[in-house]
């Protein structure tokens, strides 16, 4: 039993890590799509899509790992959460379809390129919004009876989930803007700096709003964050957010191209850690713990060597691919 307990916690960390890596990697390229309407010029759009053309595919694979891993390690959570999030997930998939093929299609046509640009931007908006809404819907809890989702088809739609949806759009956009600072030069980069300032302010507002709204959802979240001695562990999170924000502002002001992106990622990491603190040890908040949802030991065990050996390997060759395409992308790079 002890082994099982530890396995479930370990797997919760692995799934959380996969989702976080997804957020880190696909976040900025969804952010580029979100920012697309602000860059109407064809040349700028070519550069923007070229900064991620060689890597977007790998980025999206982490989402498949998150979904597939959840099914494998916590099948009960998978089978409760996915029906509960039906509409936002379908919307996310449709959004990802449009924005994924738009990467390829926009290079293959002159006549309808604008349409694919709209598909790229629209798909990114929808996918980001849907992911944020899904996150909020999970946090606010879903109605479970026995081993099934027992709520309605619109339960996910609340002011809170809309708030988290918008927050994620803002967050991804900030990642996208700071990515452009890192990867581009000239006017495009200068514009990205200006946009980053606005988005940083919006992001802070979003973090504050979600942080204040979450403890109001249930008394458990409030106790988790504000009761003694838990507060010793939780208090550093908001303090770190303030610290990172100051650093980010400093780097934006001094125009250090390399740092804003990574500091924006740090903000994401802190927000994400906050979510983890709120949820643990529930995988379906307030109804199913990670231990109850855990797949039988043998299923979790068989995947462990795969994860421990292969994930570092994957990070290695993914890192190599990023390294191959390192540096600023100009108007002439044209990966297409």
């Amino acid at each position: 039993m002890n082994v099982a307990v530890d396995l479930a916690t370990l797997w919760a960390f692995i799934i959380a890590l996969a989702v976080f890596i997804y957020v880190v990697m696909d976040g900025f390229d969804l952010g580029l799509g979100i920012l697309f309407p602000l860059f109407p010029g064809k040349q700028d759009r070519d550069v923007i899509t070229n900064t991620v053309a060689p890597v977007w595919d790998g980025n999206e694979t982490w989402l498949v790992l998150g979904g597939g891993g959840l099914m494998a390690a916590f099948p009960l959570a998978y089978s409760i959460l996915l029906p509960a999030l039906y509409a936002p997930l379908i919307a996310m998939l449709v959004g990802l379809i449009f924005r994924g093929v738009a990467f390829e299609f926009r290079w293959r046509t002159r006549a309808t390129r604008n349409l694919w640009d709209i598909a790229f931007a629209g798909g990114s908006w929808v996918a980001a919004l849907a992911q944020g809404i899904a996150l909020g819907a999970i946090l606010q809890g879903v109605h479970v009876e026995g081993r099934h989702y027992a709520g309605g088809w619109w339960d996910w739609l609340t002011p809170f989930s809309i708030l988290t949806g918008i927050s994620l759009v803002v967050g991804y956009a900030l990642l996208g803007a700071t990515w452009l600072i890192l990867k581009t030069e000239g006017d495009l980069r200068d514009k990205a700096y200006r946009i980053s300032w606005v988005l940083l302010v919006l992001m802070l507002l979003a973090i504050a709003a979600v942080s204040l709204a979450t403890p109001l959802l249930t008394i458990q979240y409030a106790q988790r964050w504000f009761s003694w001695p838990a507060i010793v562990l939780t208090a550093p999170v908001p303090l770190a957010v303030i610290g990172v924000t100051v650093l980010l502002m400093k780097n934006l002001a001094q125009k250090h191209d390399g740092w804003p992106f990574f500091l924006a990622l740090a903000l994401f990491f802190l927000s994400y850690a906050g979510l983890g603190i709120s949820m643990y040890p529930y995988i379906v908040p307030q109804s199913v713990t990670i231990w109850r949802a855990a797949a039988p030991e043998r299923s979790q065990l068989i995947m462990l060597p795969g994860v421990l050996v292969l994930v570092p390997l994957i990070l290695g060759y993914t890192g190599w691919a990023y390294w191959v395409f390192r540096g600023k992308v100009g108007h002439d790079a044209g990966y297409h």
Partner: protein, 467 residues
């Protein structure tokens, strides 16, 4: 919606999305291997024509691969959205197989795809070839895991059922290498190779019809026809073995495929055509060869064969679909064999590049692989009904607690989106195919200078040695 209940809508959605999806893996498994072979030939011989043909198909690969990725993500979430009870019960067995597919295959493909598509100039020919090879190997590993998972649902092995009603593994090797897996894997990989060679052959033939001297189309057509001539007969043999395996483990599926409603004590006929009437339980207007069914399936002319009359009605698969999709697959397989033999004959007579009849035949057969792959999957998946896990978990007991309007609406959304995407993707691919490969054919990085000096293998090797 559409007068269907939630279960039927969920099935329609799965059938629609997986049919759409399988087109792309079937093509990209074969194409990735073909690209690896082309690049190897280029590195080995230094002949530009191989690089031109490589770059030509690489652009098409990029589009097909993207469509495969996005339609694949839908599959990995659909298990949860529409089939949550199935996921809860079968997840502990199937989940790890799919997780390994992601870890060993998807990441490998996606991780090296960028270098394969855009990195030739950045990493040099040798590392680039490694990237191409990794993508090709990734597609094959992916086929390994997903076919193992599917085969387990057809011929479950190595499992037990726990207190919560979940399937759990007691022997992973038996789970992975379940009885139908080796046959299904070989059958599908060969199908992917055949499908790709028919597409490549058709494109080659199309351009040879206009100009039989073009070097690129000659290379494509010759390679594709070798492939068809070698793999089509092999595939028929493998298919026969797969059928015998199915007879052993899923005899009811064979009854449906063969249209055997009634049992035959001394030798079953091989029905070529007929009209299966599920309600009445008979094959109308049957046209068959006496005793031939037993000969093929039992390799013995008067071996007895049980029919669907020995099976309770509620365990019957939908016979007409299984019966007809099987015939479509076999018929196309025989035509592929015909094309392969025809091409061998013309090659021997030295007329491979000039026989217009052969070229027209090859063009007509261009899409045949896709149709055969879909028909084959329809046969095996429909033939597994009314179960998701054969004999153990009924399809009707696998679905999410669904409201029909929710499933209907998402089905409608997928149909609309997929038709837009499919139409556009096919259009762009056909547009690329309409031009023959040119000397100095650019890769997907079309804004790069065409055929810069540093890109020949020799220079690349020197460069590689120097760095």
């Amino acid at each position: 919606m559409f007068g269907l209940d939630a279960v039927e809508l969920a099935r329609a959605q799965f059938a629609f999305t997986v049919t759409f999806h399988i087109i792309f893996p079937a093509f990209s498994i074969g194409l990735a291997s073909y690209l690896a072979v082309l690049e190897a030939l280029w590195l080995w011989t230094g002949r530009d024509v191989y690089l031109n043909v490589f770059n030509y198909w690489l652009k098409i690969f990029a589009i097909a691969f993207a469509m495969g990725v996005v339609s694949g993500i839908v599959m990995s979430y659909q298990f949860g959205t529409n089939w949550s009870v199935y996921s809860d019960k079968v997840g502990p067995v199937i989940g790890p197989l799919m997780a390994y597919e992601v870890l060993t295959a998807f990441f490998l493909e996606a991780g090296f795809l960028g270098v394969m598509l855009f990195g030739l100039k950045r990493v040099g020919p040798k590392l680039h070839f490694l990237a191409t090879l990794m993508v090709a190997i990734g597609t094959l590993i992916s086929a390994f895991w997903i076919l193992s998972a599917n085969s387990w649902m057809q011929t479950p092995a190595g499992y037990a059922v726990n207190a919560e009603g979940q399937f759990v593994s007691v022997d992973w090797l038996k789970v992975i290498f379940n009885p139908s897996f080796p046959y299904r894997l070989v059958h599908m990989v060969l199908a992917a190779y055949l499908t790709t060679s028919l597409v490549v052959g058709a494109v080659g033939a199309w351009h040879l019809l206009r100009n039989p001297h073009l070097p690129g189309p000659r290379v494509m057509f010759s390679m594709a026809m070798w492939m068809a001539a070698l793999v089509a007969p092999l595939q028929i043999l493998v298919g026969d073995q797969h059928g015998l395996n199915t007879l052993e483990h899923q005899p009811v599926k064979i009854m449906a495929m063969e249209g055997h409603f009634e049992s035959h004590k001394d030798g079953a006929p091989l029905y070529l055509f007929g009209w299966p009437d599920q309600e009445k339980g008979e094959l109308k207007w049957a046209l068959g060869i006496p005793k031939f069914g037993s000969l093929i399936l039992k390799h013995q002319i008067d071996a007895p064969m049980a029919g669907l009359d020995t099976v309770p009605r509620q365990d019957w698969p939908p016979v007409p679909i299984t019966f007809w999709s099987f015939r479509i697959m076999v018929g196309l397989g025989l035509l592929m064999l015909g094309l392969g033999l025809f091409s061998l004959w013309e090659r021997w007579r030295g007329r491979l590049y000039i026989n217009r009849g052969l070229h027209r035949f090859a063009i007509a057969m261009g899409p045949a692989g896709f149709v055969a792959v879909i028909a084959g999957w329809v046969t095996t998946e429909t033939g597994r009904q009314p179960f998701t896990v054969y004999g153990l978990l009924r399809t009707a007991d696998s679905v999410s607690p669904l409201a029909a309007p929710a499933v209907g609406a998402s089905l409608l959304a997928f149909i609309i989106v997929y038709f837009i995407i499919f139409a556009a993707g096919v259009l762009y691919i056909l547009r690329l195919m309409a031009e023959p490969p040119h000397p100095g054919e650019p890769g997907p990085s079309s804004t790069e200078p065409v055929r810069s000096a540093g890109i020949t293998p020799a220079a690349g090797v020197v460069q590689g040695a120097g760095s």
